[in-house]
Symmetry: C2
């Protein structure tokens, strides 16, 4: 008997039929003798509908109220899923994040989970119930409803799997696993049987939107065995996300190519190259709970330096306002430039560690295609570049081919 | 400075424009220096939509899950209303029943309020906030979400007004007050400036669906000053619901004619006329949380008696099943008859106490109209009858005229 957490996203619970399919799948595992915890997202479209209602009342809705409103989407799905289970004779109980309770910090609309009270869950499981939990939400210490940000239901699932020491956390989505890149861009893209946590982390954070980054971090930190599966395919194995040390076979050099069209780039040019400059620029932005992704600082010339970072496009306006009001007066940059028409592309693979020449092969390929690279940033297992948005598809295709990612 | 609870029903918060109108009304009172607590229902249609979703999953949805699902409707409206207030510069905070917390018993879908924690509300009011509370819902002692049954938001409003000792509880609806009878049936029907709690209780329980019965009981018990107003009319005075002793003027003999088409009648014929028979019939029905309205037992003849009661039509099937399985075997009735095509009509007025001949005038009028009365039941301030449903309108019109209810 295993204890399995199964998370179903918005398209997997989009309507009554889909929810019944979820119940059938849960039944299959239950009959095999497993204990099951189900985590659900809002029915697809519902969160946007609720945000739309909120924005009808107020241009930038008060975050506390927005959270109270949008969190209802998952609560409804959790109740409906429990009903679908009870209807086929499987005892089930639904819980909101408030009820569990999933304690978070107070950062409304992007809260972080601090603690999960697993007692009630365990009692219900031991009593033979399937426990259905509303994803994406929690409650702060004074009882305000919080949400975890887009894709937060993945984080809920993994956090619960960690808290209750589940044997496996299965993430059901509308794709049947993790691919070498987006098959809509490269038709030869191939499903990976396994991927390491580190690679997955890079892939997820870079826009392979199968899993929320934070959920992968959580899974890595708490050693939660994670599997990505399709909820539309009853027999698929999906992609298992492994700890590197478990891996026996030779690593492929490159696992995949991730990309992201949602980011905007901000260049803060000609700032004094003094200690603390990065903090002076990014501190006020972090205080506003805006996530900064890439951060690049070029070498100093004549005592000044250029500082570049990327953020989500939706945060661009706010970020520029913050720089205007809270940063400019202190660091006096020569110029601020921002660009929304960019895309980020990353080559990801743990094999990079032991293989030289990957970067130069990458840059040569792009050069041959006539694609200009504006910014480069690298880590141990990843090379990220920023290119013009319109050049992205061509870059992905060329790199997928040169690194032979279509071959197993 | 007064402390006012304002409750807005589904049609009053049906969309963004209506919610903004609610915010404008709250602003008016706030600017006059009052402290305001707002209680809201779900947007009209929303509760039915959620029930529909639940029934799609399960024919008779599990009540615990149903409550978790439908309670989200009010939570959304509460959040939207808070946003509308914040948007016009009025600090506001929304709360679900769970958050407040509104403690109820465990009778899912028709729970009763046991206790309200008013501390958080008072703190927020003292800090200058308008407190917006999701009506219709509460939480039981182990943290399950409960709902109070249809119209339960009225009860929430009155219970909060009682708990926090509010100066007035205003119930905003789509009608501008309590009428002598339904204006759709009698066009001469007149709005009452005031009505006593006792009369209102009879009117409400009999199908003048302006206020939920329980909310009026609550208001009477805790001496909450209650006013029914239209949310579509900025200047109306509505109808105030008074304690009889406050009333200075001469009472009218009859205040109004209430009626109800939602009931079904069950006749349990030829049961032994022994002590405990009423309990043996009604006990199992009450255990199933089914509300019984009229109860009539005819005089005994040859050791057996006939027992008649009415329930809501939607409970008819369940009630007949209960009688079949849990009652028949014990009391052995000669026959069980049920009738859905009935209507109940009641003449209500505290003046009845001191005026004779009301009943005979009523019966003569109906007789002149050729309307047959199947069942009669009376209280101090009310005469209720059951007639064929198709005769109801004619009966109401005739009685409204003979008692001159159109005249102030």
């Amino acid at each position: 008997m295993s204890l399995i957490v199964q998370k179903f996203g918005g398209t997997s619970v989009a309507n009554g039929d889909r929810i019944n399919a979820v119940a059938d799948r849960v039944e299959k595992f239950k009959k095999e003798g497993h204990q099951i915890i189900v985590v659900v997202s809002a029915m697809s479209g519902e969160t946007n509908k609720l945000i739309g209602l909120a924005e009808e009342m107020m241009e930038s809705p008060d975050p506390r109220e927005l959270d109270a409103i949008v969190s209802t989407g998952e609560q409804v799905t959790a109740g409906l899923t429990a009903l679908a289970l009870i209807n086929i004779g499987i005892p089930a109980k639904s819980y909101s994040g408030y009820q569990i309770k999933i304690l978070t910090d107070q950062a409304h609309t992007k809260a972080r989970i601090l603690k999960i009270d697993e007692k009630a869950i365990r009692q219900d499981l031991d009593a033979g119930n399937v426990v259905v939990i509303a994803g994406f939400q929690g409650v702060d210490e004074i009882g305000n409803i919080t949400t975890l940000g887009r894709g937060g239901s993945d984080t809920t699932a993994v956090a619960i799997a960690a808290a209750i020491n589940a044997d496996e956390c299965q993430i059901y989505t509308d794709v049947d696993g993790i691919y070498t890149t987006d098959p809509r861009v490269v038709k030869e893209a191939r499903r990976l049987k396994s991927i390491t946590f580190e690679e997955m982390l890079e892939m997820a954070s870079l826009g392979s939107k199968v899993l929320q980054t934070r959920s992968v971090e959580f899974a890595g930190k708490y050693k939660v065995k994670l599997r990505v599966l399709s909820s539309f395919d009853a027999y698929g194995e999906g992609t298992i996300i492994t700890f590197e040390e478990d891996e026996k076979m030779e690593e492929p050099i490159i696992s995949g190519i991730a990309f992201n069209r949602d980011e905007a780039e901000i260049n803060v040019l000609g700032v004094p190259d003094t200690p603390g400059i990065a903090y002076q620029i990014l501190g006020p932005i972090a205080d506003a709970n805006i996530d900064v992704d890439m951060i690049i600082q070029n070498v100093s010339k004549d005592g000044t330096t250029d500082f570049t970072f990327t953020i989500n496009k939706r945060d661009l306006k706010t970020t520029l306002e913050i720089i205007d009001t809270k940063v400019k007066g202190i660091i006096h940059p020569r110029e601020i430039i921002s660009d929304e028409k960019i895309a980020k592309l990353s080559l990801v693979g743990v094999g990079m560690r032991s293989h030289a020449g990957i970067a130069s092969k990458m840059f040569k390929t792009l050069s041959d295609e006539g694609i200009n690279i504006s910014t480069i940033s690298t880590s141990e297992i990843k090379i990220s570049i920023i290119v013009e948005e319109k050049m992205l598809d061509r870059a992905v295709k060329a790199l997928h081919k040169i690194f032979e990612l279509e071959k197993a």
